[in-house]
Amino acid sequence: MNAIEVRELVKDYGSFRAVKGISFDVREGEVFGLIGPNGAGKTTTLRIIATLLRISSGSVQVFGNDLRREPHEVRKILSYLPEDAGAYKNLTGREYLQFIADFFASGRAADEIVKKGIEIASLSDRIDDKVDTYSKGMTRRLLVSRALMTEPKLTILDELTSGLDVINAQEIRKTVKSISEKGTTVLLSSHNMLEVELMCDRIALINDGRIVELGTPTELKGKHNASNIEEVFTKVVMA
């Protein structure tokens, strides 16, 4: 079963067409990368699948749920981490995780989710400090843990390691990989081509609202005679 099926997806902002009829599938359990230059339509596509934006035309199915008709069902099985997401500054890290967990479970089950979140965040004692006192990297770790702690069927990660140092970024990538191995489907977008190459099973390259390439990293590198995905990206976009 496909986790996501996107068909002829179009998104208009007034007279501006940001997404121009794209189609792709994301298989269950895979890590799928959506890459492209700024303004290509990546974030718009991710926001549509995350139920934040309405579809102008076309269709999106998430685990068999139609996005237009059943957005609430889709929200039950996904988590979305926006690129510049923030957390409530007056809450402690623990309180923030508890606030989110309470939407997915109650009582002991919610506590278990929070426990998992704290483990992923790895903020030690600082988890009980207010988010307001966190560095950018700490906040990002908290947010990543928020997105992954519920073990969603689908997680959408926009610039996963944005604001993280190399060590933290590596840790987070490992966590995402392990979550994926347990069955969570990951749809990610990143400007870090190394990250995309390391993490993704398949990649779609989007440019000017259209998908211009789709395949595994190996297939894409072979097709464009490139040594890495960054080269593929440059060749396709500059062509």
């Binding site: 934040l52 309405r54 926006p82």
Partner: protein, 423 residues
Amino acid sequence: MSSLTNIVKKEFKEMLTKSTIIPVILMAVMFGYLGSMMGDVEEEVSTPPVIGLVDLDDGVISDIAFEVLNASSDMAYNGTDVDAGLEEVKKAGGVALIVLPANLSSDILNGSRGYIDVYWMMEGAGMLDAISSASVDSLLGSMSYGISAYLVNESSETDPAVVLFPVERSDTTIFQDEVMEDVSPDFLITMLSAQSFTVPFIIMMIIIMAGGMVISSMGLEKENKTLETLLTLPVSRGSIVSGKLVASALVGLVMAGIYMVGFNYYMTSIETSAEIDLAKYGLDLGPVDFILVGVSVFVSLLAALSMCMVLGTYAKNYKSAQTLTMPITLLAIIPMFITMFKDFGTLPLALQAVLFVIPFSHPMMAMRELMFGNYALVLGGIVYVTAFAIVMIAITVWIFKTDRLLTGSMKGKGLAGLLMKKR
């Protein structure tokens, strides 16, 4: 272009947006309205008051009284029947009926003070509603002065105290068909000042503060980038909207509670210094009235908060949220000023319409209107404000279901659209 000019130009562009100019224009319009209202009051002061005179004395003193009163008033009745006088003055929209008793001249000429009765026809209990009675007050002062002058000329043996203050009066105020003996309009208005001033002020403060919190909350959600996460959680848009409304309504009610403590002290001090029992004239509130006032406050708060939610969706950050509180502030201040100075019933039709349409007017007016038994206005207000709140909540939920919250754009080009565009 110099660096200074460059900076000034940039600052102008940031500061002079449609969203900052429109509230100022609205404020200017409001002052224009208030100015025209003040102009009406000035006209009221300069126009001779309409009065009636019942002369049962027919002596030299009552002749003097008639001369003075007739010279500076529009006398709708001059006769000897109090009931007919009251009828005529009421019909003419007059202010007062002055009754000169049979023994007025003999009392004064014999060295005693004369006692006159004044029946006041009170139209409204707002502060500016006292203006017309102040004109007649001044007229009675002139009458007293005329009598004093006569006494000084005619008799050097009269008690100086009588010469200086030859007439004492007994006031009877007729308001909303209620006859209140020994009560002057001034005194009644002072007694009702809590309803005239304090209640509108408290309501205004609650609406501005609670409303500001809702708008700021939306601004903060966007500034802190927490909104997108919230909107992807398995919770309905209706629950998000309701949660924000309920929380801010509760905070608003806590604020109201704090204000009410101060208000209670104020009321207690008024009650202890009061010389009349307003309840004797039916000017008190029963349990049903208090429930109606509570309902009126609640639905207005709900209307205010839901309106703030709609405005809050246009906030891009905390700073822009502060600017967006302006329309709510204006809509709270306008009825506060109007209800402070005038009763709904004594306003021109256009202002009555403006006041009725603004949802926050109704709890400001409710207490006083219920005191005078105007249930239709209060109940009508509750129905209207409830409908207003329902529409606003529906609009908010609809906005939450569109892209509007995240993309900051909407195809509509209304006032809100203009405000939003510049944010």
